[in-house]
Symmetry: C2
Amino acid sequence: MAVYTEVADEELRAFLARFDLGAVLSLKGIAEGVENSNYVLRTEGGTFILTLYEKRVREGDLPFFLGLMEHLASRGLRCPLPVRDRSGEALGRLAGRPAAICTFLEGLAVRRPNAAKCRSLGAALARLHGAGEGFALRRENALSLSGWPPLAEAAGEGADRVAPGLRGRIAAELDALASLWPRDLPDGVIHADLFTDNVFFLGDEVSGLIDFYFACNDAFAYDLAICLNAWCFEPNMEFNLTKGRALLAGYGGVRRLEPAEVAALPVLARGAALRFMLTRLVDWLNVPPGALVRPKDPLEYDRKLAFHRRVSGAAEYGWEAR
Amino acid sequence: MAVYTEVADEELRAFLARFDLGAVLSLKGIAEGVENSNYVLRTEGGTFILTLYEKRVREGDLPFFLGLMEHLASRGLRCPLPVRDRSGEALGRLAGRPAAICTFLEGLAVRRPNAAKCRSLGAALARLHGAGEGFALRRENALSLSGWPPLAEAAGEGADRVAPGLRGRIAAELDALASLWPRDLPDGVIHADLFTDNVFFLGDEVSGLIDFYFACNDAFAYDLAICLNAWCFEPNMEFNLTKGRALLAGYGGVRRLEPAEVAALPVLARGAALRFMLTRLVDWLNVPPGALVRPKDPLEYDRKLAFHRRVSGAAEYGWEAR
């Protein structure tokens, strides 16, 4: 749940005057998006999402994110389409923050996806990977291998306050992944944060993907590994192989995985688990007093990481060669 | 900002099946309503507000609140209209809580209303008082004179931890109001919580009133006194007489105030200030650890109360006899 920036009605009216969306009818702050402030905006022109970018999103990255959504939407992917103002700009300023208006996507985010939804999600992820082709801008993945040691350092001794031995486990994992991490896998634009709250469904079919604010250029299979972590574990941290199969089959039905990608899945899944453990850990240790946002539990990913360390091959995630 | 009850998509679908609203298209938790969980709900039938009633609203009061909104809407007041299901019921259960769907009202809540908005608000309040006539149910105001001493007791010594001498000031005020409180003023259904976040505007005109969950039977002028407190003070707690004039003139243009009501305004304003100070104080002293809701500052009303104590007549609020 985001902490909202207050938007005064005069400011909003002035901001909207640059767009061909008619007069504002209503604005409601919504509990969506942890990094930014989001609102459902209704104008005479329709229903939209207004996003105010808070300080965790680097302003210099916004042209990449907004340009990417426009590129993906133009390739037929269902994602928010940034609305340009009369001068052709999608990015403006409101209440002292960078701000953009995007189209509203119908659909419901689900907390506990069934296998059918995992299959549809896999197919949507593969379509996203295809649709990103030809996008002109690049953005390195700041939260991949080289980004993890600084996070581990930032957590420091605090890790052991969260769970005994955690600091040592992190150090060992960093060492292991530094030597095991795959190079030269097929790559392109990845979402890099495709958790269940970023995927909308109508019935069991994906109706839209949102929140591209971690998108970057990296190995496609790493995105798949993130989804295995985020979609296929049960609340008790047991891996649901049926969901894993559905996710991988859904993906494979749209984009054929290369043998090197399949072979790399266990290591990529470890890396993805470590990445979310580390960012959650740093957030956990740095909750400001009086914060309205409750940080996510880093230990969930400590347990997922332990699972991945014991995996010997992609079949244990449900991979079935055809 | 509300703490949201999670609604699973299967539950939502089952709940909606009772209504003639078509399939669900989207559901977004919104930062509106402190007491309940509210969502913007889009279905094939349109856009609505779904409310889940949390524990601070007594379930036995819901027929009064929902029936009142229906009564007021049928009299032409712009307020949420509860949607009845096929069996004629507006109140159902969802995610283990009482729940209702209401029509969506366009308009923007404003944090800093100008005088024109105060005038429109005054007129809307008077229309509300007229529209409530003939409503069959009654609900006593649990937060009037007899409800304050238990709140003061609940705060107890904690009051002096919030501000030195506060406990004594509260006790003195309770004594004074017990003898000064007016009886036999014109009464009927009042909103009793018409703060700026409960009033929507399009331009400077009121487009809708929401959140009737403190509505009750009490003196009309007490509702006006609440609005003087909530709408006419500047952030530095100075009273803006221009706004007071506009509010009172807007009200008086629709419903004529009796001399006894005018005379009682200063005492009613003290009572209203004490009422909000006390409930905020109790909330302030009872924030559970890890709460996501930041309580409102009770001392704002300590300062407003000090202002009201020095008022000698309604003219100091901007009342102008015509």
